[in-house]
Amino acid sequence: MASLKKHKSQEMGLHDEVLTGRTQQVFFNPEESENFFYHDAYDVDFNKRTEIDANNLDCREINDKIKNMMSKGYGTIVIKNPGSKHSVGVGILNKLNLIVDGSLGYFGIGSVDGPTVRISGRVGWSCAENMMAGKVVVEKNAGSCFGAAIRGGDLICKGSVGARSGIDMKGGTIIVGGDAGAFTGFMMQRGRIVILGDVGPNLGDSLYDGTIFVGGDIKSLGADAVEAEMTDLDVAWLKRKLKVSEIDKKVDFKKMTKIVSGKKLWNYDNLEPTERKGAI
């Protein structure tokens, strides 16, 4: 069994899982200073609030309006009548308090880095795909590929999610209050998934790394996924994260099942600079 050398990131609770026979991890130095700059990132004031009525707008017009409002310093934006439209709220690269008063279609809140988003309805496929940092809370259900390829941030669905949640996930946390479908955590490479309900077949199939916690029944494990022992650190982390997720559900954390990769995989394990930023 490979043992991890103690590092500050572990003390912070970022990496606590027991790795069994896997490749060497190279952790970043949290003290390291880095300067990131995005062209379309704005300084906004959370106290400046505005509303966008999306009723007769297409997704491009809605996203243009969000950008325009952010450029004027609005830090709290409410989208009314989103009507399950696709690709709404994508590419937001700064802090923002975005409130979606309704449901979104596919690819909502994709490729974001920093905003806090609340969606009072449901989301379609691939919500928050490629998210780097921020927090997205979905009050109702979500479609498949929830949090596909996210690299950081917290993605929370209070209802149930479809198949392949956390597919290709490279960091961050996904928390689901209800059930999840087949192939949850498929090809997951880092980060954590917490499912409080039941999970469908092939959980963690082709899992490279990362940890999946399940509160309910697991239909079956996928290739490369193995059960691991819950630690006190896991329980402490779960308690903290569940508080952040605002899911009002009594959970016996010690009875949750922990799933990790049981296979040794090479040369995927260096953190990317953007992931470092998300983790910091």
Binding site: S84, H86, S103, G105, R122, G124, N141, G162, G181, F183
Partner: protein
């Protein structure tokens, strides 16, 4: 990609043609090549409604072979003779487009297969549907174009399914468009989104059993598969469950009968389906935007899971 949609009202007849037109038009981006409707109306007492075509739509973008339109009239006369030859009687006949027709017929014969075979013996003739409440309409163009051309916006009924097609594995023509009638069973239709990878194995097996295929579209296999099971006395829901084991690939499909609407999703759950259910109706579609066209309010929807089969009663 393709888009599929369906709606069923529980115990109520309404403007289901208009509803399906709105739902399918909102899915145009998923399939711009052709649109099809399977609508379940109030019927014509004990008579059958026969929808058939004697040629293809050869407008720009079609992959069908150009024909002189004058031949359609001769084919229609030939069909009329075949109907009489089968012992059926034509009560009403309407020419909807130069190549497609809607008849109301009575048929006292035992097996619809005999009647269907005779009609389809006429060159280029294909029965789109033959049922007591089903009317199956499909053509090249988006949902609005097809609904306008066939007068579907005023169609009343309890339920319907429909399809917007992006042609990937067969031609842009009516015969490759969905829905498919589960020949020769009256009032059974299917729409499908996905790919079937064991199409030829299943097709050969079913053809050996005498089942007929009109296209090389993999989606037709589902209709024929279900027809074969129903012919063997298998209940619809059980036949659908069996399809999840026997058909390989990624797929979500809808099936409708005279008074039921069902959905099935394969074990990979790779094709989308969003579902809304209330005490009055069930609406399903590849995307929630389609459901919102008939229910323009905040609604609770969900994605059915892998391997799920559901059937609802009108």
């Amino acid at each position: 990609m393709c888009g599929i949609a369906g709606i069923i009202h529980k115990g109520k007849s309404t403007n289901v043609g208009g509803e399906m037109q709105k739902m399918l038009q909102s899915l145009k981006h998923r399939g711009p090549d052709s649109t099809g409707y399977a609508l379940y109306g109030d019927g014509e007492s004990n008579n059958y409604i026969l929808r058939f075509k004697v040629g293809e739509n050869v407008k720009e973008g079609s992959s069908a072979i150009m024909e002189d339109a004058s031949i359609y009239e001769a084919r229609k006369d030939e069909v009329n003779k075949k109907i009489e030859e089968a012992g059926a009687k034509i009560h009403k006949q309407a020419q909807i487009t130069p190549y497609s027709f809607r008849y109301v017929i009575s048929y006292k014969g035992g097996d619809l297969l005999d009647l269907a075979k005779l009609i389809e013996s006429v060159e280029m003739t294909e029965i789109l549907s033959l049922g007591k409440s089903l009317e199956l309409i499909k053509d090249i163009g988006d949902a609005t174009v097809v609904a306008d051309n066939y007068g579907l916006n005023k169609f009343n009924g309890t339920h319907g399914i429909g399809h917007t097609r992006m042609a990937t594995e067969s031609g842009v023509d009516i015969r490759s468009a969905h829905p498919y009638w589960a020949y020769p069973f009256s009032d059974v239709s299917v729409v499908h989104n996905g790919q079937l990878t064991n199409y030829w194995n299943n097709r050969r097996t079913l053809e050996k059993k005498g089942m007929r295929f009109m296209s090389s579209c993999d989606s037709e296999l589902i209709a024929v598969y279900l027809a074969d099971k129903i012919r063997s006395g298998v209940e619809l829901k059980d036949a659908m469950r069996g399809s999840l084991e026997d058909l390989d690939g990624v797929f979500t499909y809808l099936v409708a009968t005279k008074d039921k609407l069902g959905m099935a999703k394969d074990h990979m759950a790779a094709k989308p389906m969003v579902l809304y259910e209330s005490k009055d109706l069930v609406a399903l579609a590849s995307e929630e935007v389609a459901i919102r066209t008939v229910l323009p309010k905040e609604i609770d929807t969900y994605d059915p899971y892998e391997g799920e089969v559901k059937v609802w009663q009108a």
